[in-house]
């Protein structure tokens, strides 16, 4: 008799627990907001987010990922509106790659205050009021590029740094890392480091052509801190007959064009991040936080230097051409 009672009460407790669990595990809607949608880098982030969605769904979590970004990589205002709109729509959580390290502070803080937790990915935000920062150590990435430049040039030569855009924290950290690493080789001179490529490929291409016309006789090495200027500068070098190693070209990120350029020897090295892991960890961190688990304030997703020599190693191959199609149909 007392045994049945015990059994019943245990059953009742288990039942109420499972009810509680179900109450604690409602359906999550997570908005993932990239900086832009036209670059392959963001496709990989999208694939990573989808991977997280599929894994969570397989474990029985009800989750919905909304992928929406401004179409131009420097449209801060549009991104602010996106954040505000998702806040009003009351999504469960947001994963955001801020276009600007200051302009997005207020919208993010507003969302946090309104009870919509925000995970920052890819690019920093100059506030502490967010759940977690999931990103590449961009400064380290720039340092890797700078050290490789020193190695490629044998510690001597003239170098151009074509910057990306004003206010983009991730690329500015890479540029700083690159410049600092170059200081270790006193015989390497930065002959141009004050030009910005701008957000579209056409602008990056124009600036590259113009800069090369000025410096083509003295430049030995060039570094570009992200995909559009890397592709544009390599195209301009190729047209001048300076590609293929005459000028050492080091780029950042792995679009399909950059990978082809690396294979052909027009690009000597690419610093590559792990955007798939970034998208994946971004969503996972947001869900962990929603479940009330503790999350790290800073999560490093790793960075690697890929040259023609090591590009065929399996782990490098996966970084160069992330298995996007597996997750995006």
């Amino acid at each position: 008799m007392s045994r049945t009672l015990l059994r019943l009460s245990v059953a009742a407790i288990l039942f109420s627990f499972s009810c509680l669990l179900q109450a604690a595990e409602p359906s999550y809607t997570i908005a993932v907001i990239p900086k832009g949608t036209t670059h392959e880098f963001w496709k990989s982030i999208n694939a990573g987010a989808k991977k997280a969605e599929q894994e969570l769904k397989a474990k029985g979590t009800k989750i919905d990922i909304i992928w929406k970004g401004p179409l131009r990589e420097d449209d801060r205002d549009q991104q602010i509106q996106l954040v505000e709109n998702f806040m009003t729509r009351r999504v469960s959580s947001m994963v955001l790659a801020p276009l600007d390290d200051k302009a997005l502070i207020r919208p993010v803080e507003n969302a946090m205050n309104a009870g919509v937790p925000v995970v920052i990915m890819d690019s920093g935000l100059k506030t502490e009021k967010y759940v977690s920062f999931v990103a590449t150590d961009n400064y380290k990435g720039g340092q890797l590029a700078g050290e490789e430049m020193g190695r490629q040039l044998g510690g001597k030569g003239n170098v151009i740094l074509l910057r990306y855009a004003v206010g983009s924290a991730s690329t500015e950290a890479r540029e700083a890392g690159f410049v600092d690493a170059l200081k270790k080789s006193p015989n390497i001179k930065l002959i141009s480091s004050d030009q910005h490529a701008g957000a579209t490929r056409e602008l990056a291409y124009q600036v590259s052509q113009n800069l090369l016309n000025r410096f083509k006789h003295e430049v030995n090495g060039i570094f570009c801190p992200c995909e559009p200027p890397t592709i544009a500068m390599t195209k301009a070098l190729r047209e001048l007959g300076l590609a293929g190693g005459k000028v050492k070209m080091i780029g950042f990120d792995s679009g399909s064009q950059s990978v082809t350029d690396l294979k052909n020897g027009d690009v000597q090295a690419l610093v590559v991040q792990n955007p798939l892991l970034m998208g994946y960890l971004g969503v996972m961190t947001a869900v962990k936080n929603l479940r009330g688990e503790k999350v790290e304030h800073r999560i490093d997703t790793g960075v690697a230097l890929i040259t023609r020599e090591n590009m065929d190693q399996p782990e490098m191959k996966e970084l160069l051409t992330p298995p996007i199609d597996k997750y995006l149909k």
């Binding site: 004050d194 490929r201 291409y205």
Partner: protein, 325 residues
């Protein structure tokens, strides 16, 4: 308007020489520094400048007839993005290059016909209609491309804008010759054909033009459709330059084009302007960007200078015309 002391011919000469002087002034400015001069005043650099001018120059051909007719078109940047995406998609679907080119230009014409007929037949403000079209065009470009860049396989259209022999001025890419050829044709159309004179007549005084029997709505549709041809060709050139269709490209291009037309001496209230002036205006803009990059001026300085030049150019133009009249 001409004073009896200054015959019309002299004034026209001054109008043509004016923008040229501006161009020389800008080139002179960048030639002051001896270190930069060695790279700036070279055939190779002028090849770069000419190549970078092509898209804006072809755009100004369309914009000039629109502005002379008293209109404005804010949708150019979007149309260039849209047509470059159409071109890339057609090539990606393995259509022959000439079909891709025709589709590209056809898209430009179609958008022009829509703009022109709404402006002409429904008598709506060009500013509003083309502002709307700016969003429609950009949105359609993103829709068609799935918000991604479209990268077709290698094809002959890629080579229209390909610079060869980069250390010398010759040969310039075919795109430069196309732009020049189109400019000559348009200069003749504007000066020597009935359609060209209608454009000036409508821009100078629309009521008078209507009363003298010009069918305004039809002519306006034709003007915007013809401009669409040029915007489509500009899109083709944009595709050829990047060898990809990019739905986010050419954002704000319309402002560069309008600035070039205005620097070239056209009046935004219509009735005056010339193809030659607009082409030189486009060159001035390209020289400014090119020179600023090579001087090592920070990006913000370039933006300020281009703004100042626009205001000075139009101010000088007003002064010149004021003295002549």
């Amino acid at each position: 308007m001409a004073s009896p002391l200054q015959p019309g011919k002299a004034r026209r000469l001054l109008n043509i020489v004016g923008p040229f002087l501006g161009l020389l002034l800008v080139i002179g400015l960048f030639s002051l520094s001896p270190t930069v001069r060695a790279f700036f005043l070279t055939g190779a650099n002028f090849k770069i400048i000419l190549t970078q001018t092509v898209i804006v120059a072809i755009g100004t051909l369309g914009m000039t007839i629109i502005i002379v007719s008293g209109g404005i078109d804010l949708s150019v940047g979007s149309i260039v993005a849209l047509t470059s995406v159409v071109c890339a998609l057609a090539l990606d679907k393995e259509r022959p290059p000439w079909i891709a080119a025709l589709l590209t230009i056809g898209t430009g014409v179609l958008v022009g016909i829509i703009n022109g007929s709404v402006i002409g037949f429904l008598r709506m403000m060009p500013f509003i209609v083309t502002l709307g079209m700016m969003g429609i065009g950009r949105g359609t470009a993103k829709w068609l491309s799935g918000s991604q860049t479209v990268n077709p396989p290698d094809n002959p259209l890629n080579r229209i804008m390909l610079p060869r022999n980069p250390n010398f001025l010759w040969p310039v890419p075919n795109g430069v010759w196309i732009a020049l050829g189109l400019a000559v044709v348009m200069a003749i159309v504007m000066r020597r054909t009935v359609f060209g004179r209608y454009i000036f007549a409508i821009g100078a005084n629309e009521d008078a033009a209507r009363l003298s029997g010009i069918r305004i709505p039809l002519q306006k549709t034709a003007i915007y459709a013809l401009a669409g041809v040029f915007f489509g060709i500009a899109g083709l050139m944009q595709f050829s330059r990047l060898t990809q269709g990019d739905p986010t490209v050419a954002n704000g291009l319309e402002l560069d084009i309008i600035a070039a037309v205005v620097i070239g001496g056209a009046s935004l209230s219509g009735g005056s302007g010339s193809i030659l002036g607009s082409m030189i205006g486009a060159l001035i803009m390209a020289v400014l960007r090119n020179g600023s990059n090579q001087m090592g001026w920070p990006t913000y300085v370039q933006e300020i200078i281009i703004g100042v030049v626009i205001i000075i150019a139009v101010g000088l133009d007003k002064l010149r015309k004021g003295r002549a009249g």
